[in-house]
């Protein structure tokens, strides 16, 4: 259905582009060959921090591949595109890109040869970045090891594979001009806003998108999604169990916070990157985002502790199956009162149990959580092989009732199945058939 709708709209846009053909056409810029030694090491160092804040490595590095050499498949609602090679390899990377070409790509989403780039590359955010920072980022990327690696072409259906169409998209959604500080706000707030709105591109996952995949400006930070995970709202409607403070958001963004836990899913690499950035930058981002969420209402303060203190025993017999699963599969760690590393006092501290969208809990339960190879970090086993869809749904029903005050999620078993279908086969479940649950365990009667 969505496909058809998109197709129709795309055709519409196709008609429209006749009017702005001039914008659709972009010149190829002459190749440049800059000696690597031309960069000031302090500029490179600054670029390194900016690249980490921009999360560049996450998209531009393929699993098991060389850093920044591209090739990673980026799933979008429209199809899969592949991140490009941004190492200075002259043939397959950006080795022949001048600073001008680089700046144009970041601000206007056009590559050196003049092709429009898909907005999965968040140039709608990068357009906010200053010239100096772009120069630093350029210096950093141009001093990486050149890797010869051709990224596969995007895998998109017609007409979405027609790049000139993107000119229409840009006309509608790309706002030119770098970040303009708000003089009414503190320097730190402004720094945070600049980073979060620009390189940090937080909105890409935390703002809802329209049918054309553009962030809806009027719903800034109202909650979005990424890779089938839910990106919680970062504005006043934040459902966070414990209201965020600057300190706890700072902890979370860099590592782990005792009141909120740590980042998982697509947010995990973001936090891993931010843990390597100067503290003041992360603090500024925390300041800005906390301010967006505003002061919490009095009734939210202390709510979590009250929920956490409730008994585990389920009063509703329909929740008993889930309670038993919690007791046998989850309680060892999650009822340890924070004794087991990387667990918070109670699951009641997890925002995701309070939100409208259950996908993050489903994702975490099915996939589990793993730290980067050889590094310390939370380990949670994936329960994909241990629990059936119905059992995961039972568990989530219980968790929602026990550890939050939000209304029950609906249609859980289907949502579990959808997330499960999305999980690439891993150990033990490679190609294996989905197991039927026995009748007595089937949900809904």
């Amino acid at each position: 259905m969505l496909r058809w709708w998109l197709l129709a709209l795309a055709t519409l846009v196709l008609v429209a582009i006749a009017g702005f053909a001039a914008l659709a056409w972009q010149p190829s810029l002459p190749p440049a060959a800059l000696p690597v030694t031309a960069f000031d090491p302090s500029l490179v160092a600054r670029g390194r921090d900016l690249a980490l804040i921009g999360n560049c490595n996450t998209c531009h590095t393929q699993e098991g591949g060389k850093a920044y050499a591209g090739g990673k498949p980026i799933p979008t609602p429209f199809g899969t595109i592949h991140a490009t090679n941004v190492t200075p390899d002259p043939e397959t990377g950006i080795g022949q890109w001048s600073l001008t070409a680089f700046v144009r790509s970041m601000r206007e989403g056009v590559d050196r040869e003049g092709n429009h780039l898909y907005p999965a590359f968040p140039y709608d955010h990068y357009a906010r970045v200053t010239d100096e920072d772009l120069a630093a980022l350029y210096a950093f990327l141009m001093t990486r090891r050149a890797v010869r690696h051709e990224a596969p072409p995007p895998d998109l259906p017609f007409p979405l594979n027609q790049r000139p169409l993107l000119a229409g998209w840009k006309l509608l959604f790309l706002k030119a001009g770098s970040y303009r500080p708000d003089p009414a706000r503190s320097v730190e707030w402004n720094r945070g806003a600049y980073l979060a709105e620009g390189l940090g591109h937080c909105g890409a996952c935390h703002t809802p998108r329209n049918r054309l995949g553009a962030e809806i400006a009027s719903e800034h930070y109202n909650g979005g999604e990424a890779e089938n995970w839910w990106g919680p709202p970062l504005n006043a409607s934040s459902p966070a169990s414990v209201p965020w403070t600057e300190a706890s958001l700072f902890n979370y963004l860099r590592d782990w916070d005792p009141k909120h836990g740590g980042a998982v899913g697509p947010m995990a690499p973001v936090s891993h990157n931010l843990s390597q950035v100067g503290e003041s930058e992360v603090r500024a981002m925390a300041t800005y985002l906390t301010a967006l969420m505003g002061p919490p209402s009095g009734e939210r303060l202390g709510r979590t502790e009250a929920i956490a203190a409730r008994p585990d025993a389920a009063p509703d017999p329909r929740l008993a199956a889930g309670e038993r699963i919690y007791a046998g599969a989850c309680a060892t760690c999650h009822a340890s009162g924070g004794q087991v590393p990387y667990t918070v006092n109670s699951l009641a501290y997890h925002t995701t149990l309070f939100g409208p969208d259950p996908r993050n809990v489903i994702q975490a339960v099915l996939r589990g959580i793993r730290p980067p190879e050889g590094a310390a970090g939370a380990i949670m086993p994936g329960y994909a092989e241990m629990l059936t869809d119905g059992q995961v749904a039972d568990l989530l029903d219980y968790l929602r009732a026990r550890f939050s005050d939000a209304p029950p999620w609906t249609d859980l078993e289907r949502k579990v199945r959808e997330v499960r279908e999305d999980i690439p086969p891993t150990s033990g479940s490679l190609g294996g058939a989905q197991v039927e649950s026995t009748p007595d365990l089937r949900r809904g009667g």
């Binding site: 950093f140 087991v340 050889g374 939370a378």
Partner: protein, 748 residues
Amino acid sequence: MTACTSQDVSRRNLLKAGGALFLSFSLMRPYDLLAQGVESAAGPVKVPGLPGDLAKEPMLDAWIRIAAEGGITVFTGKAELGQGIKTALIQVAAEQLDVDPSLIRLVTADTHGTPNEGFTAGSHSMQESGTAIMHAAAQVREILIGLAAARLGLPADGLRTGEGAVLAGETRLPYGALVSGHELHVQAQPHSRLKDPSTHRVIGRDLPRVDIPAKLMGAAAYVHDLRLPGMLHARIVRPPSDAARLIALEAGAVERMPGAVRVVRDGLFLAVVAEREFQAVVAGRALAAGARWNNPTTLPPQPEIFAHLEALRADEHVILDRQESAGPGVRTLEAAYRRHYQLHGSIGPSCAVAWLQDGTMTVWTHSQGVYPLRAALAEMLGMPPEQVRCIHTEGAGCYGHNGADDVAADAALVARALPGRPIRVQWMREDEHLWEPYGPAMLTRMRAALDAEGRIVDWAYTVRSNTHLTRPPGAGQLLPARHLAQPFPPPEPKPIPQPEGGGDRNAIPLYALPRARVVHHFVPEMPLRVSALRSLGAYMNVFSIESFLDELAAAANTDPVAFRLKHMEDRRAREVIMTAAERFGWPGDRQREGRGSGFAFARYKNLGAYAAIACEVEVERETGRVRLVRAVAAVDAGQVVSPDGIRNQIEGGILQSASWTLYEQATFAENQITSRDWSTYPILRFASVPERVEVHLVERPGEPFLGTGEAAQGPTAAALANAVAYAVGIRLREVPFTQTRVKAALGV
């Protein structure tokens, strides 16, 4: 339900010995023996000059017994720790006795059944027990030939042996028919007529490990698998740290939980006993939740641990002071190296079963030393040692002094409170991570001078370390004994003297160094509880020395392998170095981006096996990740009994040392350890396992056995550091090489 012990099961494929002929005690299964009451072995008389541990236990029948129907039982005071010692000892005995290995039944460490061979540690098993059994078997064979000669009225030198019998032409006299009384109850002789190594048929051949099938088929192979009639399960609730004090305890509700039998409390020692294991786990959690502790700050901040160790009082031991004539140094290099605390980290947490019955405490334990443990338990329990029996039963991999003795003490304390019921205690993962004694943090400093020819002329080295030995026999070395209402304080730690050494193990290089001074700074005060971790100080000393040797080689503009050979006179050392280099194809591919090769050598303790290791690494600049790509080792272990056994040990050592070196450090905050599980103490996983590991053995038939179990630990660490230096030009001097450290060293 029948009782079943590891000894039975793992010997499934071996012929069972029947009734013994001339025994001072029964050879039956420990459980049956226990049921009939126990006798104690007579105390051994020390006889110097006998080979291996025959000096500690000179009577031949303490080592080898032959039953009437021909079953042969061999006794060792050493324990199977997953190193394959059972198989190797059976091979040695079978070779010298001329019997098929499948006819030999091996009994391992048991205070009421085997010789007292102290600890199974320090790669000594083959040197001590293997040598003793080899000579005892050869002497038993001579006795058997003598008995046959007397019976047949033929001269002994005309008789041969084979297939468990003495052969005289067509006549075949099975061993079982030759012994009828106390013929083997004689003292060993200093010299034996050993088989000519060129005629070996069992030694040097790969015999499948006898303990593996049971382990892979789900038989009861470990102490964890022991199930005794009426057995109860216990879990221990420990204080948050050694300095913590109990303020309040709510235990009443715990005793009313399903299956709960008892809460045992003695001072700070808290345990809960239940009918079923999971009931004990749940009750243990409830008891922990009901305990409130006062936990003062006692630990130095982790980032300052090395400064802290430097500031502590140290005893100085000069262990080498050589002043030979040599030319002047023209170039001096200095460096300092660090190693963080590291864990043994067995996959299976420590476990023991104890049973107080009719005044005797029997403990099934995976301790490395059943006799020392018995002494410690006897002292802690206030019982005469004869009434404490410790039976070695396998645990998960050991790698040194881990929680085995402590959990045995836990079980004994609970068993004392519930006489008549066997008590099984298994530590939870956090018990193991938080309470096992760690491998100590260490610091070394190095200074050396090169002459104009690029030869080392001056060498000065100091190593600063806590003890590496806090094992029993003292009750104060048992963790729970310190927490009792009447605590046993830990004894004053002492260094292990040279030539073996503890923190200074392998601190003296094997290289030819005309002027050299090596000093051990022994630090008695222990910020964290520490003890022996596989290879002890050798890991750090070899890492330091062999890293520094590469730094010197670079300064002398010489290839690292050539530089080592230039300073090495020991013929066997030279051969392993050259073998490893050749098999690796040293120096390897120099062209590939981010890849590099490294080399290192050591002779373990300067007394054990020689090992040279070359490896190739890949360093990812952007992440700081170091990956071991391949490793090639050459090893000279003297006479090789089980080639595959040695390869297995060396392969395992390389991978374990790579894990220590790349990832591992225990972490702690002001008043407690924070490495509580595998999420806070990451180790090697399959994603980082090298592509290839090769082990080449340099054969030395007829030479003494040289221990190999720990030979790879040090060289692997240094080879990795040297390979990283080669690959990306940075010198890593702090173990482990975490991604953060590597990235910091690499810069942007």
